[in-house]
């Protein structure tokens, strides 16, 4: 009997434990986000308006801190109570899920053009801003200045931030110290580029006595995007446009069916075969690629400069104090053609949702982030607290700035990154930036070699099938590069698969769009 009782007790304990487990493990359905809210001391008699802002962040930004004084300042100026949720950079899926599950913020920033945004507009989730334009001078001015194409039936559903329309910072970066050691100039032609890669691989510039260095390293594309890291070779061979090309009959065809693509691929295969390219580039993300560069495992990489000049060189010097970062225009091909930077057709779209009880106030929040007043607050902070000003000279108080999540060396507050603008588009560099001249020069160098787009904007089909066809393209590109596929056969197969995955429809609409563009001129 005693035994029986004890086992009964045990049963109860186990049962209770099981119940407790289930209760405590009930998981929350929120997207992974950093939240920070601060009470604003409402300046008016009105109750502060509670505003939730969901956005993707930026790898360069610091996380938001609780009781952030900048958020408090925004709250005070706009009479709102702001809650910011930041998903990681490029994690648009998290934003999609939040919206699809009905957990709507008042203001949202996401990828554009995208099937999600089209769907949200179609279903009336986003509120048109037209009615509030008199309160949104900065947004209105930007929209009227070349962004008219983003209107749907005459209505603007948000502010699309297209980066790099006039300026680019994307070009070739290399170890200047290695080139000096090898007695080489920076490569100006593809032939010299090949020679430089070979020298880096064979002549042991890091001096460790082993042939363990690759010439060129790059990284995998962001999910859904095409692999474009090797495009500068294609442009050198005369690929005229970055998106589509025309055939002899004046019809729009995929760019991989241009002869320059084949010529470029054959050159790249040679490099790959000679082990000049790090064969595992497709595994790396951008930080992993940069690490290979910093550690001296590769001599040349592609990537953004401008504000990154100091960061890349700084990290390089941490590993190797003698490391020097160099950059140069993309190499020229046999006919002297060259190109690297492209005008992105992607944007970040900041919009007001129908959940906003006061859409005007929500729209004014977007306006604020974009306005001079807002930029100053997010970049510099509060005068007297985060910086002091004497004439035109600004002195940062880094200790105070750090407390509110400002990034180091005079960079901005977390709210300033990756939503409505980027430093490069504003030509903004903090006054403490140690490499101001090189940063500006790198933009000058990179911006000279823009490759034009044939079609200026994404068509509906491209929004719908773009990711699917890019997947096909990437797969074939990798296998063409590493020699697994025969060049002619591979390109032919790519054409078939690409068209089946939605390319047919994309081409049809691209042809129409091209004709319309021509008619408009």
């Amino acid at each position: 009997m005693v035994h029986r009782k004890r086992s009964k007790l045990k049963k109860w304990v186990v049962g209770a434990a099981a119940v407790a487990l289930i209760i405590t493990s009930g998981c929350s359905n929120k997207p992974d986000s950093t939240e920070a809210s601060t009470n604003g001391s409402g300046s008016g008699s009105e109750e502060p308006y509670e505003l939730v802002y969901l956005t993707t962040g930026d790898q360069g930004a610091k996380p938001l801190v609780p009781n952030d004084r900048i958020v408090a300042e925004i709250n005070k100026r706009l009479n709102i109570k702001l809650t910011v949720k930041i998903a990681p950079e490029f994690s648009y899926d998290k934003i999609n899920v939040a919206i699809a599950s009905g957990d709507l913020p008042d203001v949202v920033t996401t990828q554009y053009p995208s099937s999600s945004v089209s769907q949200w507009i179609r279903e009336g989730i986003l509120v048109p801003l037209n009615d509030y334009f008199d309160k949104l001078p900065t947004i209105k001015a930007k929209l009227d200045n070349g962004l008219q194409w983003t209107a749907v039936d005459g209505k603007y559903y948000g502010y699309p931030f297209v980066s790099g329309a006039e300026k680019s910072n994307y070009t070739v970066q290399f170890r200047q110290d290695w080139l000096d050691k090898l007695g080489l100039e920076h490569p100006k032609t593809l032939e010299e580029f090949h020679g430089t890669l070979k020298a880096i691989v064979e002549k042991d510039p890091d001096g460790n006595g082993k042939a363990d260095t690759f010439g060129f390293v790059t990284n995998k594309p962001v999910a859904g995007e095409a692999l474009t890291a090797f495009d500068f070779v294609l442009y050198a061979y005369g690929l005229p446009n970055s998106d589509y090309v025309l055939n002899d009959n004046g019809e729009v065809i995929p760019r991989f069916e241009h002869p320059a693509f084949k010529a470029g691929i054959e050159e790249l295969r040679k490099w790959y075969d000679e082990k000049l390219i790090d064969p595992e580039f497709i595994v790396y993300d951008r930080p992993a690629k940069e690490q290979k560069f910093f550690q001296g495992k590769a001599g040349i990489m592609d990537g953004p400069l401008f504000r990154h000049v100091s960061r890349v060189e700084g990290s390089l010097k941490q590993v190797n104090p003698d490391g020097v970062l160099g950059y140069a225009p993309p190499p020229a091909g046999p006919d002297g053609k060259q190109g690297m930077a492209v005008r992105s057709k992607n944007a970040l779209f900041t919009a007001v949702t129908n959940k906003a009880k006061n859409p005007e106030k929500a729209a004014q929040f977007i306006e604020f982030m974009l306005s001079k007043e807002g930029r100053d607050l997010l970049q510099l902070g509060i005068e007297g607290v985060h910086y002091t000003k004497q004439g035109d000279t600004i002195t940062y108080n880094e200790a105070e700035r750090e407390k509110d999540g400002f990034a180091a060396n005079g960079w901005s507050h977390p709210l300033a990154w990756g939503n409505v603008t980027w430093p490069i588009d504003q030509n903004y560099l903090p006054q403490t930036e140690p490499n101001i001249e090189r940063a500006l020069d790198s933009v000058k160098v990179a911006s000279k070699y823009f490759v034009p787009n044939l079609i200026t904007r994404k068509t509906e089909a491209e929004i719908e099938y773009g990711k699917a066809v890019n997947e096909v393209y990437n797969q074939y590109f990798v296998n063409l590069l590493n020699g697994k596929l025969d060049v002619d056969q591979g390109i032919a197969e790519l054409g078939e698969q690409w068209r089946q995955a939605g390319g047919d429809e994309i081409l049809k609409q691209a042809n129409e769009e091209y004709k319309n563009q021509g008619a408009g001129k």
């Binding site: 899920v97 009336g124 859904g224």
Partner: protein, 324 residues
């Protein structure tokens, strides 16, 4: 022992007197008698009801044009539109093929591994050694794929990975286990087995521990050597466990391991490693085509269901117990 008694009684009733009232009363009394056991079952039942059965109604979006504002029930019906689109895509069949191939590899190579490990460990005499080995081999089970993925990338990379360093030491050329299509699947299967086989060994160890030592003693007296004892005693005695686990594994054959592949794959190996789950993730969550993703998921569940029924039927034919 009341448990067996009452069950026998219920059987008896059902055979002799088909009076529903009495049968019900008996059943209720039977349940009341075992009320604590049933009470303990309640949390599990609730869990399945709330997290597995109720969400199932969401599968109807596969036949609808899902609209966020109208919700699951309010969206327009679309018939088999999404399935027709899917079946017309080469990509879809490629994804199915990858799922089945990766799963089959895992079954063929991964299924015997824990059995062999358990049988070997069972023969070990020194307890400390046995326990040490057991702990070491099941340790990777507790590390999540996110972390293990990072470890694998470090172990297998071509320029500094240990494995490739050994290959280079013997004069071979480094192999791109992670970047080369032809090695990627093998790497997936091998790393999955490495992570999980130790853990799966536990079940077989338990089955082995249940074998009565008298049988071995008798066999020794009859002059059976170690290998004969293994072949004619141990294996037949854990056969039902093996078959049961095999059925469960067959039922899960469309699960090729989302977490692992999601952590390790990249655009260069989509052709050989994109499985149903990763595909659903990309079209559903990343591209927001929820109906299409639901259609793929539903198709997968159908195949899974058919496979489970088939495996169960096979097992019964082989004279073993099924799972239902």
């Amino acid at each position: 022992m009341a448990y067996i008694d009452s069950e026998a009684a219920v059987k008896e009733v059902s055979v002799l007197t088909p009076k529903p009232v009495r049968k019900q009363a008996r059943l209720l009394r039977y349940i009341w008698f075992n009320r604590y056991l049933y009470l303990m079952l309640v949390p599990a039942l609730l869990y399945y009801l709330i997290f597995h059965y109720i969400p199932m109604y969401g599968a109807v979006v596969a036949f609808k044009d899902f609209s966020i504002t109208k919700g699951i029930l309010g969206s327009e019906w679309a018939g088999f539109k999404h399935f027709e689109y899917l079946f017309s895509q080469d990509k879809f069949w490629q994804v199915i093929e990858n799922t089945v191939v990766i799963s089959l590899y895992r079954l063929v190579f991964g299924f015997p591994a824990p059995i062999i490990a358990a049988l070997l460990l069972n023969e070990v005499r020194v307890r400390l050694f046995k326990q040490t080995v057991q702990t070491v081999i099941y340790l990777p089970h507790f590390i999540s794929w996110v972390i293990l993925g990072g470890i694998l990338i470090n172990l297998l990379s071509t320029d500094s990975g240990v494995v490739n360093n050994v290959i280079k030491l013997f004069g071979g050329t480094p192999i791109g286990f992670l970047s080369d299509e032809s090695y990627f699947r093998s790497m997936l299967v091998f790393s999955m087995i490495w992570k999980e086989f130790g853990w799966n060994t536990i079940i077989y160890m338990a089955a082995l521990a249940g074998i009565s030592p008298h049988l071995y003693e008798a066999a020794v007296i009859d002059g059976a050597n170690r290998f004969q004892r293994l072949l004619h005693l141990t294996i037949p005695l854990i056969r039902s466990t093996i078959v049961l686990i095999l059925i469960l594994r067959l039922g899960g054959i469309m699960e090729a391991g989302f977490e692992q592949i999601f952590v390790l794959y990249h655009p260069g190996v989509y052709r050989v490693s994109d499985i149903i789950d990763t595909y659903v993730y990309r079209i559903g969550l990343a591209e927001g085509r929820f109906s299409l993703a639901a259609a793929v998921g539903l198709f997968k569940s159908l195949i899974n269901f058919a496979l489970l029924v088939l495996a169960n039927w096979l097992s019964r034919r082989m004279g073993e117990q099924g799972v239902y």
